[in-house]
Every structure is written in structure tokens, then in C-alpha cells.
């Protein structure tokens, strides 16, 4: 199901690429994969964002230069710009390609192994704390 009209989607992609450009080894918003589908997914889970997003996107003129439009929106409608940014960045950081480049497999399962436990005992990291002894006041101690 497509939640955005063609013109709004075009505006989102235009502003999205200003907010998330290709730089520092990362792709721009629209080069991150099928971001249209991911944006639809974001909006299906966060329906409350749709109205604010539509209103903000309607303020972007079809002929307007992308960077100038983003600047103007940020000045005149900061909440609207923030909503566009939230939708675009949420979709972007869920894209498999973006996660692959970042080395992020999501909040993965990585149960601890026994050799990760107590390493501070084995290598003495905790020893100075133990050696310094108690640091508490004990008003009712024996």
C-alpha cells in the first residue's frame, strides 16, 4: 500500500537527499535501496506521523532547489522538517545495505560466554578497588 502521493514522495526524496547525502562512505537517502517501501513501512507503524509529514511536504515547491527548500522549511516549520528527518532517517537506518556498511546487525542475540565473565578478576582490573577497601558510612553497623 502506498501512503504518499507521487508529488509528496518526490518531495520527501528530494529533501531526504539533502538531509542524508552521499558522504563519508555512506549512500544518500534514495540510493540506500528501496526506500519508498521502507518509508511506507515506517508510516504504517507510525501512523501519527502521516499528517505532519504530508503538511510539511506540501510546503516544498515542485520547482524549488532542494537545499534551499530544506533550509526554508527548517526556518519556517522546524517541526515539519524534524518529521521529514525522522521518517527519512528511520527508514534509512533500517535499510539492509546501510546496516551492512555500518556493521550493525540490529539488536542481535549475543549471549555471554564463560570466558567473558570475570575477566577483570583474571587480569587484576578490579584489584585496586578491592585493595582500597570499604567506602561507605555505617551508622548502625556492629
Amino acid at each position: 500500500m502506498s501512503t504518499l502521493s507521487d508529488s509528496r514522495r518526490a518531495a520527501l526524496n528530494t529533501i531526504g537527499d539533502v538531509l542524508i547525502p552521499a558522504a563519508l562512505g555512506m549512500p544518500c537517502f534514495t540510493d540506500a535501496g528501496d526506500v519508498d517501501a521502507m518509508v511506507d513501512h515506517v508510516l504504517s507503524l507510525r501512523r501519527e506521523l502521516t499528517d505532519g509529514l504530508n503538511q510539511a511536504l506540501d510546503r516544498v515547491g515542485a520547482e524549488e532547489e532542494a537545499a534551499a527548500a530544506a533550509e526554508r522549511l527548517n526556518r519556517d516549520d522546524p517541526d515539519g522538517l524534524a518529521t521529514i528527518g525522522l521518517v527519512a532517517s528511520s527508514a534509512y537506518y533500517m535499510m539492509p545495505e546501510v546496516r551492512r556498511i555500518m556493521g550493525y546487525r540490529g539488536q542481535e542475540q549475543r549471549p555471554a560466554t564463560a570466558d567473558e565473565e570475570h575477566d577483570y578478576m583474571r587480569d587484576g582490573l578490579l584489584q585496586p578497588v578491592i585493595d582500597r577497601g570499604p567506602i561507605f558510612r555505617d551508622p548502625d553497623g556492629d
Binding site: 542524508i20 527548517n74 532517517s89 542475540q109 549475543r110 565473565e117 578491592i130 555505617d138 551508622p139
Partner: protein, 537 residues
């Protein structure tokens, strides 16, 4: 309508669950009314791609952001801090971080030692056996021997690894000669009593999808129900009723079809948390108890404490896997916990070294700042700097009781059943501000010693009212307290409060280990003295 319950519990969160389990096991007939519902592990997003997206709304800790019908909205227009909580079986433990911290002995003697606030009506030693017991029931992982405490019974499970962030933080602390210790957590490092070993997903504050974390829907409610406790969900209590003798006689509650019921009871225990409990007492009492049930002291709702939270984030070159869980804390420090008056303030704070989560962070908070600051190339730069390469030293700042910081009933706001909402009036004190400033300076030193390439600080996080305390304080004097040391109302002998409202002071520790230990101590006393108690007939 219906049978009279021996004990009616209002609220199925941390304290309500502890009370229900132990009363039911002792053969006491228990009914519990809970406005929320049972939440299944499959509903949590921690194991799903959409985790961060959903944590900003559906699983946000602020009920005003979630806006669910099961929550009540809260007027926070006059508060520096937003109270945070969750409504459901397990209450706020569904989304807590499970730092499982005991108070230190001095926390119970604040007046005697530091000349401020009040002493508690019992001591650390009085509570210690109940702390021990709760460690076992929750399945606490930790390392015995922390020199910030008197010697104590080791927790049942070995500590979770402190990981790369914990080791880095610890090295910095060692350089400075400062205290740190592997943090105690109500998160099992081994499979424990039907719960899984922690998989370190790091999403504990949006619910644990692994059924590992000790939330009381898992740790206590199954036993309570198996022993006959009746748990009614979707049951929103609007008033505690009182009989002609001035005893609590039950509660009026509304089901999800809008139908009103009266649950009669011989005894009522309120466990609706530090905001929900004073709200309910202020809504109750009628003409006989004008100003609220159990409120002859005028202190119901007053002395709200919420632990203002400040934090320091350090950014490092090396990869730290800093999205790895648990989300709560790898190590803690009580180096600056005890009062040192030469600092210009009293009391102190626990520090916790924590991971910094996923890549999305809080991008929505950037609206209005110069565009290039938050977006464009700087977005990538900031994400690469933080994500996987940072950790946070957080400060649980002890706020002192102040009667002006309070919960009152709102004039216009209501929940979906038309029941008046609570309004929070809360301002940080000068002592708190000085305390936070001092701790942030020390944390900067700790981050520098750990080798941080750059550092940022948050002086006060507004969404930080995780800990709700003090609004029905305990004490020996009915004029200066609402409850006695067992959580029993000074005014109404069969009315009890067992949640964080009971706290006399807040300490600088996450409160739930202490809430549960106090609830257990009070319930055990209730069971032992059962034959002597006045109850509604």
C-alpha cells in the same frame, strides 16, 4: 457485588506482584485490580528491525507520548521532569532497565548523618534479609564484595560481563583511584527459574523479547495465580471505598466496557506507584476524609522525588559494540555517593556506565537547529562518532524531599474513563543543581581518563522520571508521615501502601530493589500479625 476479598491489591507492578505472591502463598485470598493488560514477549520490538522506531512511540516510557487508553495522561506543565511508567501486568518493570541496587546504610539515616530530610523508621540491617530474599526471587546477577556496601549474601547468579564499555570505563576509574564495581542487575546471566539467559540484545527498556529480564509478570505473577490470587486486568480503580467505621471496604473500578463494579475487601493494599497511589488516595475518602483518604497529615502527594538524571557521553576511536546489552549498566560507581559538605551540597549519586544504543538515536529532537549541524554530512559524522564508539556515564542524583514537589489532581485532564488525572509540580532544588554540576565535572575527568576523544554532557534529561518516590512517606509520627513503618496508613488501619510512595528519602539509587524489599517486609509482617488486624467486615 461479588465476594469480599480478604485482600484487595490495586496495581500489578513491582510491589503489587510481590504482595500478591506472598499473600497467596500464605493462603490469603487475594484479588488484584490492574488497569493495564498482560503483555506478551512477542509484542516487544527488541528482536525486530523496527525497534528504535517503536521505542519513540508505542514503547516510549512517557505515558503522554504513548497515549494508550490503558495509561492515564499526566499534566507536566509545572514540572522540570516527566514521570515515566508503564501500565500492565508487571507494571513499569516491563520496561525498566533492571539495575538492581540496594540502598547504602547511610541512606536510612539522612537526618542523623547530614542534618537534612528525615531518618527512615527502619535501618539497612532491618531490610537486609528482604533484599537477600528478593535477589533470589528476581534472579539477580552480580559480584559479591562491593566495598560500597557491608558484606552481603552473594546474589544467586554470577555477574554479566562488563564488556568493552565497562572495561574502558573501569580503566579510567582505576587511573583516578575511584570506585567502580560490576553492576548488579535483575537480569539472569544463566537460565533461571524458567527465564532465559540474557541474550544481550540491549532493548531492556522497551521490553525483553527473550523473557530473560526479571519483570514481575514473569517472576511473581505465575506463582501468585497458581496459589489462587485473582488478577483482573483492564480494571481501572477510581475510588477506594470506606465503611461506617472509617475502614477501607474495597474499591470501585471500571471495566473496558465502561461498566462500574464494586470489589469489596477486608483490607486494601495500594501499589499504583508514586504517582498513581497519591492520585487514588486524593480521589477517595469522601466527606469523612476530606482532602483524601489517609491524608490527615496533608502529606499525600507531597515530597515527590524523581531522581533528576544527568549524563556524560564519551566518544572513542576504538569499536566498543556499544549497542550490546544489557541496556542498563555495565559497571557502577559510588565514589561520590556519600556526603562531603566541602563540595557545597549534601548527599550524592550513583553513576552507571551504559551502552548508547542503535544508530537512529534521537534524530527527531534536532528540529530548528541550523540544518547543517544535525543533517547533511554531519549526520553521518555524528552517527559514526557515536554509534558503536561511545558509552554514557549516567548520574542518579538524590533529590531531597520537598513538600512543594507534589502530585495533585488536575482540574481538567482526565483518563479515558473520565477520572481526574494527576498533575505534577516539581522543581529541582539548588542542592540538586550543585550536586549535578559537581558530578558532571567528575564524570568529564573519568571520561578523559578513559581516553575519550570527545565528550558531551546532558545537564538534565526531561524524560527521566523513572523513579517515583515519597508521596505517601513512612514515619513514626502521624503528623509528619502518611504510613507507619509497615506501610499501614496512620489514619485507616486496614489501608496499606507498598510502592515507591512509601520512601522517606530517595537515595541516589534506582529504587525497585528497595521497593520490593519493603513490600516483602511489610507483607511478611501482615501475614505474621494477621490475627490481630482490624479489617472491614
Amino acid at each position: 457485588m461479588g465476594e469480599t476479598a480478604e485482600v484487595l491489591i490495586i496495581g500489578a507492578g513491582a510491589s503489587g506482584a510481590v504482595a500478591a505472591k506472598h499473600l497467596a502463598e500464605a493462603g490469603v485470598g487475594v484479588v488484584c485490580l490492574e488497569q493495564g493488560r498482560q503483555v506478551e514477549a512477542s509484542e516487544f520490538y527488541g528482536d525486530k528491525t523496527e525497534w528504535e522506531l517503536m521505542s519513540q512511540r508505542l514503547w516510549h516510557p512517557n505515558p503522554n507520548v504513548r497515549g494508550l487508553a490503558t495509561d492515564y495522561p499526566i499534566d507536566t506543565s509545572e514540572s522540570d521532569v516527566n514521570p515515566l511508567m508503564f501500565a500492565g501486568v508487571g507494571g513499569s518493570t516491563l520496561i525498566y532497565a533492571a539495575h538492581w541496587q540496594r540502598f547504602m546504610p547511610s541512606d536510612f539515616r539522612v537526618k542523623s548523618l547530614d542534618g537534612v530530610a528525615d531518618d527512615w523508621p527502619f535501618t539497612y540491617r532491618d531490610l537486609e534479609p528482604f533484599y537477600d530474599h528478593m535477589d533470589v526471587e528476581m534472579g539477580v546477577s552480580g559480584l559479591a564484595g562491593d566495598p560500597a556496601y557491608p558484606p552481603m549474601t552473594p546474589p544467586p547468579l554470577p555477574p554479566l560481563p562488563i564488556g568493552k564499555i565497562g572495561r574502558l570505563a573501569a580503566k579510567g576509574m582505576n587511573d583516578l583511584g575511584w570506585h567502580w564495581w560490576p553492576a548488579p542487575q535483575a537480569i539472569p546471566s544463566r537460565a533461571y527459574r524458567g527465564r532465559s539467559q540474557c541474550a544481550r540484545r540491549g532493548t531492556c527498556m522497551q521490553g525483553c523479547p527473550e523473557q530473560a529480564k526479571a519483570s514481575t509478570d514473569l517472576t511473581h505473577w505465575p506463582d501468585a495465580i497458581a496459589n489462587g490470587a485473582q488478577l483482573i486486568t483492564g480494571a481501572r480503580v477510581r475510588e477506594i471505598t470506606v465503611n461506617a467505621q472509617g475502614l477501607a471496604s474495597g474499591a470501585i473500578w471500571i471495566d473496558r466496557d465502561g461498566v462500574e463494579h464494586h470489589q469489596r475487601a477486608e483490607k486494601v493494599i495500594v501499589c499504583a506507584n508514586g504517582v498513581g497511589t497519591p492520585r487514588l488516595l486524593l480521589l477517595s475518602g469522601g466527606d469523612r476524609f476530606a482532602g483524601g483518604l489517609g491524608n490527615s497529615s496533608g502529606l499525600v502527594g507531597r515530597n515527590l522525588m524523581m531522581h533528576p538524571y544527568a549524563a556524560t557521553v564519551g566518544y572513542f576511536d576504538e569499536p566498543l559494540d556499544s549497542w550490546l546489552g544489557p541496556a542498563g549498566q555495565a559497571i557502577h560507581s559510588m565514589q561520590f555517593y556519600e556526603t562531603d559538605k566541602s563540595r557545597g551540597f549534601v548527599r550524592g549519586a550513583k553513576w552507571n556506565a551504559m551502552p548508547t544504543g542503535g544508530p537512529l538515536g534521537m534524530r527527531s529532537a534536532y528540529g530548528g537547529a541550523p540544518l547543517e549541524e544535525a543533517w547533511g554530512e554531519n549526520l553521518h559524522r555524528a552517527t559514526q562518532k557515536r554509534f558503536g564508539h561511545s558509552f554514557e556515564w549516567g548520574i542518579i542524583a538524590e533529590d531531597l524531599p520537598d513538600p512543594e514537589n507534589r502530585v495533585v489532581l488536575d482540574d481538567s485532564l482526565t483518563d479515558t474513563d473520565g477520572i481526574p488525572s494527576p498533575k505534577i509540580i516539581y522543581r529541582n532544588s539548588e542542592n540538586t543543581e550543585k550536586l549535578i554540576a559537581f558530578h558532571l565535572e567528575r564524570q568529564r575527568e573519568a571520561m578523559e581518563a578513559a581516553g575519550a576523544k570527545s565528550i558531551s554532557t546532558t545537564t538534565l534529561m526531561r524524560d527521566c522520571g523513572w523513579h517515583l518516590m515519597g508521596t505517601c512517606r513512612m514515619g513514626n509520627d502521624p503528623e509528619t508521615s502518611v504510613l507507619d513503618q509497615w506501610g499501614t496508613s496512620h489514619d485507616v488501619p486496614n489501608l496499606h501502601v507498598l510502592d515507591g510512595s512509601t520512601f522517606v528519602t530517595s537515595s541516589g539509587f534506582n529504587p525497585t530493589a528497595t521497593i520490593c524489599a519493603i513490600a516483602l517486609r511489610s507483607v511478611m509482617h501482615m501475614i505474621e500479625t494477621r490475627a490481630d488486624q482490624r479489617v472491614a467486615s
